[in-house]
């Protein structure tokens, strides 16, 4: 079953607990700079928008990887970076049009959301339920997909 993180910006207060939980889970330290989910603060509008990988079908990162370091977790559809295989070439960081793959200079590897193996820490850490984890077809994922299609390299008629 394809699952995904669904975000409700209206509920977000910008506290960054999601970033803390994410970085702790992934890096073992509290370090928002290494979080796979990022909260953007639109100060002038009083809006906070958490943002991370939608595990898109197009999987730009996966296809752009020259060494097969990004694979699909069949249990939830997450695109997962294998640290053992990633050489740090960063092609995926420019290939992902959503900007959700980042290069970690400290390790020489790229980092992205892997849905924590199916139990996302950001969801549990959010004090205002601004992040939910649910089946992709129940979510606003279609909205993001339509957006993704704008970037798609191929327009497929009937494909």
């Amino acid at each position: 079953m394809q699952k995904s993180l669904v975000i409700y910006p209206d509920k977000c207060t910008g506290c960054l607990q999601c970033e803390l939980a994410c970085s702790y889970q992934a890096e073992g330290v509290f370090n928002p700079a290494k979080s796979r989910i990022k909260v953007f603060n639109f100060h002038d509008q009083g809006r906070f928008v958490p943002y991370t990988c939608t595990q898109c079908d197009e999987a730009w990162c996966l296809h752009a990887c020259p060494v097969d370091a990004i694979t699909v977790d069949m249990t939830n559809g997450a695109k997962v970076v294998s640290d053992d295989v990633c050489v740090g070439c960063k092609v995926c960081t420019i290939a992902c049009p959503f900007g959700t793959v980042n290069y970690n200079q400290a390790t020489g590897k790229v980092i992205k959301c892997d849905l924590c193996g199916g139990d996302p820490e950001c969801v549990k850490a959010c004090p205002t339920d601004a992040i939910a984890y649910m089946d992709a077809d129940l979510t606003g994922l279609e909205k993001m997909r339509a957006w993704a299609a704008k970037t798609d390299a191929a327009l497929q008629a009937g494909a």
């Binding site: 207060t13 970085s23 330290v29 700079a33 290494k34 100060h43 009083g46 004090p127």
Partner: protein, 615 residues
């Protein structure tokens, strides 16, 4: 673990940045942030130094929890000798600056000396360098923050800076980070300006660790649950902010009004949290856009507001037709009740200007209130004020003075003296509602007796955040006491002072204590930090910090005679409400306070007390 173990020393005179190991013996005795910063300051400066001389130092300090996922753990404090008070100053700020400092590898930054020309400090992951700040001198906090991010091409840099008011010596200038969070009180921004230090810009990506992660995660989770389940931290503060207090405090007759001439304000409802949520006529939108959290805060009491676009303050100035930091209770009180102004948009605008130009809305509003009283009494005239009709309730006078004070221009430069110097200048010292040079915040010591003692004994001058007995006397936290009684208040104030010293030294926000006692906080500190951090030890640490601050002030020349209140509170009875007929019972509470503190009748800590606290 928890501490980075490293401090950064910046010698502005020589232009050098040097790393030093943190003194861990001191960390064990003073925890961090307020306590540890005060220890360093006391060790390194002569308490009699002129606050604005190069010999004063300015310390930015985080706590051991800063940067962790403990709720509200993003705090930092600025410790220095205050420009407004000449006393120990310790101003605490939220936002996202403290955690960034920690992630850049530093527990603390010590600034000393004075730069020849304006500079700012740039820190990136353990690398610090002074940069030419002349291009930013004369710029507002908002433009400086934006400008530094742009100059270095990095929107993720966090900036703490001063505005023009801090450059030009307004005595109550703040250091503002993240556009509208501030180390607000006592003129810490004025000290920064005197050092020709415009800003501190930090980007940190190193990460923060704790001593026992498993224990820590569990203690933190429990703590968050307590905050979520509590009516104040779980519902009241996120929904209404600290402004939830406006109507409450007015009803108990403790809302100081028009420079404390009254203790209830008929315009209170118009400037309250309820008013901020009311849709306005022009566009159907309320003043309040959303609540906002500081780093790691699961309460989110912060206000993000807009000003009515048709309001005179912004109608022709689109740059202020934005959402930005809205009114907190203390600011709403000072800009509103203390001046008699009930125009919510004017207050919000004045608040924007305080953030934009970096000055304390409490001291500013209270000083304007004092000036208004002098104007109404004929001591000040339009000749003095540059033509401003400084009557109580005049919104346009308030907003005009906010803009002038932000630039230290015209009569704004005189407001920038603070109420004590301003009233002394015009020979009406009794009209300054202040202790040790610092203006009162939003609680009347006649209607809430504990707050009178709080102000009189606060080490940084009048302040509600040193012992917020309002919690007990009005809200019943941790237990209800009678706000009109003096009995037992000395002990209550001391308990709050000691516990708050711990909270301010840990890296977390004092607002957690609406729900948390030290029983909730100690396990989080204990799991994060090596060593014994039981409740008992923490209380001892808190008492030690309080006495260290006291010692600094005594050495700086303060005496027990400074632990007092303006005559108005001691002699003039409250006129309305539950406190009608009451004056402050300070004379009953203070001797008991000294005694319980183990101080002499003149307010000097005894040798026995000092040795008990290992001071």
């Amino acid at each position: 673990m928890a501490w980075t173990g490293k401090i950064l020393r910046v010698d502005l005179t020589k232009g050098t940045c040097t790393d030093e190991p943190l003194n861990m013996d001191w960390a064990k005795k003073y925890l961090g942030q307020r306590g540890l910063g005060t220890k360093y300051l006391c060790e390194e400066i002569d308490p009699r130094v002129n606050p604005l001389s190069p010999k004063n130092k300015l310390i930015m300090a985080t706590g051991p929890l800063t940067g962790t996922n403990a709720s509200t753990a993003g705090r930092y404090s600025v410790i220095t000798k205050g420009a407004l008070t000449g006393a120990i100053a310790c101003s605490n700020s939220g936002g996202f600056f403290g955690n960034e400092m920690k992630n850049a590898g530093y527990d603390m930054i010590i600034f000393e000396g004075r730069a020849k020309t304006p500079v700012y400090l740039l820190v990136r992951d353990g690398k610090a360098e002074l940069q030419d700040g002349r291009g930013f001198w004369g710029k507002s906090v908002w433009d400086t923050e934006e400008g530094i991010k742009k100059k270095h091409g990095d929107p993720l840099i966090r900036v703490a800076s001063i505005g023009v008011s801090g450059e030009k010596g307004v005595k109550f200038a703040c250091i503002v980070n993240d556009m509208h969070r501030a180390a607000g009180r006592s003129g810490v921004g004025t000290v920064m300006g005197s050092k020709n230090l415009k800003a501190v810009a930090i980007r940190g990506t190193l990460g923060v660790t704790v001593d026992n992660p498993k224990k820590f995660m569990s203690a933190v989770a429990k703590g968050k649950q307590v905050l979520a389940d509590n009516a104040v931290t779980g519902q009241g503060l996120p929904a209404m902010g600290t402004q939830v207090l406006m109507n409450v405090i007015n009803e108990v007759g403790a809302l100081p009004t028009r420079n404390h001439l009254a203790n209830q304000f008929d315009g209170a409802a118009d400037i309250s949290a309820e008013a901020m949520a009311e849709p306005r006529a022009s566009d159907g939108k309320p003043n309040l856009v959303t609540n906002a959290a500081c780093f790691a805060c699961t309460i989110a009491c912060g206000r993000i507001s807009t000003i009515d676009r048709t309001h005179y303050t912004v109608a022709k100035r689109p740059q202020y037709q934005i959402a930005s930091g809205g009114l907190e209770y203390e600011a709403a009180w000072a800009l509103g009740a203390a001046t008699g102004v009930d125009d919510l948009d004017a207050l919000t605008f004045a608040n924007f200007i305080c953030n934009e130009q970096g000055f304390d809305p409490i001291s500013f509003g209270a000083t304007v209130g004092a000036a208004m009283e002098m104007y109404e009494k004929g001591v000040l005239t339009k000749k003095h004020t540059g033509g401003i009709a400084l009557n109580f309730g005049n919104a346009k006078a308030l907003t005009k003075l906010a803009e002038l004070t932000g630039q230290a221009k015209g009569f704004g430069a005189e407001i920038g003296l603070g109420s004590k110097l301003l009233c002394a200048k015009y020979k009406r010292p009794a009209l300054a509602m202040q202790v040790k040079g610092q203006e009162f915040p939003a609680y009347d010591g006649r209607g809430i007796q504990g707050m009178g003692l709080t102000y009189a004994t606060s080490n940084r001058g009048a302040c509600h955040l040193r012992s917020y007995t309002v919690a007990s006397e009005i809200l019943g936290i941790p237990e209800k006491t009678d706000p009109l009684a003096t009995k037992g208040k000395a002990g209550l104030v001391i308990a709050f002072q000691n516990a708050t010293s711990v909270v301010d030294s840990a890296g977390i926000c004092v607002f957690t204590t609406f729900a948390w006692s030290l029983d909730d906080i100690a396990p989080q500190i204990d799991a994060a930090c090596a060593g014994d951090w039981s409740v008992d030890n923490l209380l001892l640490v808190g008492e030690r910090i309080w006495n260290l601050e006291r010692k600094f002030n005594l050495d700086a020349g303060f005496t027990g005679k400074d632990d007092t209140l303006p005559k108005r509170l001691l002699k003039d009875a409250a006129k309305t409400g539950p406190a009608k007929g009451l004056t402050s019972g300070l004379h009953k509470m203070l001797p008991e306070y000294y005694q319980l503190r183990g101080w002499s009748k003149d307010g000097v800590p005894s040798n026995k007390t000092l040795s008990r606290l290992a001071l």
